[in-house]
């Protein structure tokens, strides 16, 4: 499917496939990966659709190799993407740390599965901490976008490429098996770049210029200290400029849900039911989980009676909510590791918190 064909068309596709369309629309012509459930639609789609448009698909021998293919192509100044799930993302952490240190842009998709170790293939949000707190060594951060619809799988992938280039950093799409596997209509809007696309730092051979390096090793004097402060300033800038969130029925909300991705999607149904019953429930949905909408969380916590954090894990974003506000006594948690909470379960919890009868 060419760029022109994808422009402003209403399509019915899986979330995983929408990621591919978003990437291709954003000019990504290089994809490398290694099979793992539940994201195989992505490499399968890319293996079929990249070569006809002059792109490159390459299946690696491991996720360790994958992320280093990515590093090499990113160092060449090209837009490049990979996707994987928990265990594979763990293997990529070394490369992600090097890319953060070397300031290399790329998009990494995590269609996360459940539990530590081999875990299960059920949908989960168990990789939140790994994604937003620095999964590898050295204390870096990267933008992490959490789509809750097929539309966002498409549009946030395009945004991820722009953020990666703007900050010269890896950027992550943090999804799960549900948002990856579900099909729904979405608008494949054309890509409009929000950042300059030229990369004068890329390694292209030193024709007409001095040789340059892509590196993360700094041994001389205090160069590594200077470098770390430089990276830190980028993370501060992301927190100042890139926080994205959705406010859902927050007007007058006494019960404010904070949830991302699939958990937020399900919460919307429960909020609609609650509103029909006259319960003032709403939701603040982080779209970027790094940078985290801390000020917004604090504001809804101060305005409402209860902040209900809902996650498909045992409480990971909960930590970020706690550090975002001093209203700790208002925070409640509904967790469902390795499964999707149903609208009924969330609705029941809202009613309980609103003091309604069972």
């Amino acid at each position: 499917m060419s760029l022109a064909e994808t422009a402003s068309r209403r399509l019915l596709m899986k979330g995983n496939e929408a990621i591919c369309l978003g990437a291709i629309a954003a000019g990504c012509r290089f994809y490398y990966g290694y099979p793992i459930t539940p994201q195989n639609d992505i490499p399968e789609y890319m293996s079929a659709h990249l070569p006809p448009i002059g792109g490159t698909f390459l299946q690696a021998e491991s996720e360790v190799a994958t992320i280093n293919f990515i590093l090499g192509t990113a160092a060449s100044g090209k837009r490049v993407m990979t996707s994987s799930s928990g265990p594979g993302i763990s293997l990529m952490q070394e490369g992600l740390s090097y890319m953060a240190g070397s300031e290399l842009p790329a998009v990494i998709v995590n269609i996360s599965r459940s539990g530590p170790g081999l875990g299960g293939i059920a949908p989960s949000q168990g990789d939140y901490l790994q994604a937003v707190k620095c999964g590898g060594h050295g204390g870096y951060k990267m933008p992490v976008l959490a789509p809750h619809s097929v539309q966002e799988m498409y549009s946030l992938t395009m945004l991820a490429f722009d953020l990666a280039d703007k900050y010269r950093t890896p950027a992550m799409i943090l999804g799960d098996a549900i948002v990856g596997q579900m099909k729904e209509p979405f608008e494949a809007v054309p890509y409009v770049p929000t950042v300059p696309l030229d990369k004068p730092w890329a390694l292209t051979g030193c024709a007409g210029r001095h040789r340059q390096n892509v590196k993360s090793l700094y041994l001389k004097d205090n160069a590594i200290e200077v470098h770390n402060w430089k990276l830190h300033r980028k993370y501060l800038q992301m927190q100042a400029e890139e926080v994205r969130f959705e406010e859902y029925h927050l007007e007058g909300a006494k019960i404010a849900i904070v949830a991302f991705g699939t958990a937020a999607r399900v919460s919307k149904t429960a909020i609609q039911w609650a509103r029909k019953e006259g319960i003032a429930a709403g939701m603040l949905r982080p779209v970027t989980v790094f940078p985290f909408p801390a000020a917004q969380v604090d504001a809804v916590a101060k305005r409402g009676d209860v902040v209900l954090v809902i996650e498909m894990n045992t409480g990971q974003m909960l930590e970020d909510v706690r550090v975002s506000t001093t209203c700790h006594d208002k925070i409640r948690f509904l967790g469902k590791p390795c499964a999707m909470p149903t609208p009924e379960e969330i609705h029941r919890e809202i009613r309980k918190l609103a003091g309604r009868a069972e």
Partner: protein
């Protein structure tokens, strides 16, 4: 007559390759990295590749490639240089791409990456510097450490019953269909250096002709960590190292459409 004589004596017979940066070496006395760098730089000059080359440096003493070779260089995580080079070459197939790796890097932590790069017939060149030890970290046992060799983590000498045998990468990689060229050279004598130059030229030529993966293994010294004087270190390369790791060409593809 007088003029002619002066010309004869001022004719330039030996010059720094254009691609070799004019800096003082930081490597230890008797180390062979400087010779390997020079041979690589000469080959880059020979084929006029300086402005279209991307080097990939690995972890260890080899990482300082970018201080010495005047080309664009990316730094790879430990052992991953062939994977990084794959990403560079796939993105820029018209560029010349080589890795420069030590034996701990290539033959231990990076075994998977180099084997699969070779097996894919990745059109890159690997310069593999084997000094039978981890130099930068203080002389620990490497997969290439000789039987009986004492290192900081094999203080009683390497014992095959515990640590297995020194791994022969040039031979191993020569068995893979994707490998176009595999050779082992040394740089302890002028004669060896001439052969090493020839091998590196062939390996570069393989990539330029899109024949597939090429590797040149250099038997090298590490006098500091071997606890030897430089002269004795040269003798060890020509002696017990060359006996166990025989010099020679293990594979040379004649045509690109093999199989």
């Amino acid at each position: 007559m007088k003029t002619e004589t002066r010309e004869r004596f001022t004719k330039q017979a030996f010059a720094r390759p254009k691609s070799l940066v004019d800096v003082k070496t930081h490597f230890c006395p008797g180390c062979h990295h400087g010779i390997a760098h020079r041979i690589v730089a000469e080959a880059i000059d020979l084929y006029g590749l300086r402005e279209k080359t991307i080097g990939v440096a690995c972890v260890g003493c080899s990482v300082f490639l970018y201080d010495y070779i005047d080309v664009d260089v990316a730094e790879a995580p430990h052992g991953r240089a062939p994977a990084v080079a794959t990403g560079v070459k796939r993105a820029q197939p018209d560029k010349f791409v080589f890795t420069y790796q030590g034996d701990g890097d290539l033959a231990a932590i990076g075994t998977s990456e180099v084997v699969h790069a070779a097996n894919r017939g990745e059109n890159i060149t690997v310069i593999f510097v084997n000094n039978t030890t981890y130099g930068m970290t203080g002389g620990q046992m490497a997969p290439t450490t000789m039987l009986g060799q004492k290192t900081s983590t094999s203080p009683y000498g390497r014992d095959f019953r515990k640590d297995g045998y020194p791994i022969k990468m040039a031979e191993l990689l020569a068995t893979l269909e994707g490998t176009a060229y595999s050779a082992r050279v040394a740089t302890s004598t002028p004669a060896q250096i001439r052969k090493a130059k020839e091998a590196v030229r062939k390996a570069f030529d393989m990539q330029l002709k899109e024949m597939g993966f090429s590797i040149v293994e250099f038997l090298s010294t590490c006098p500091t960590n071997w606890g030897m004087k430089p002269v004795d270190a040269q003798k060890r390369v020509s002696g017990e190292m060359s006996e166990y790791f025989p010099l020679g060409v293990y594979k040379e593809r004649k045509q690109a459409d093999f199989l």
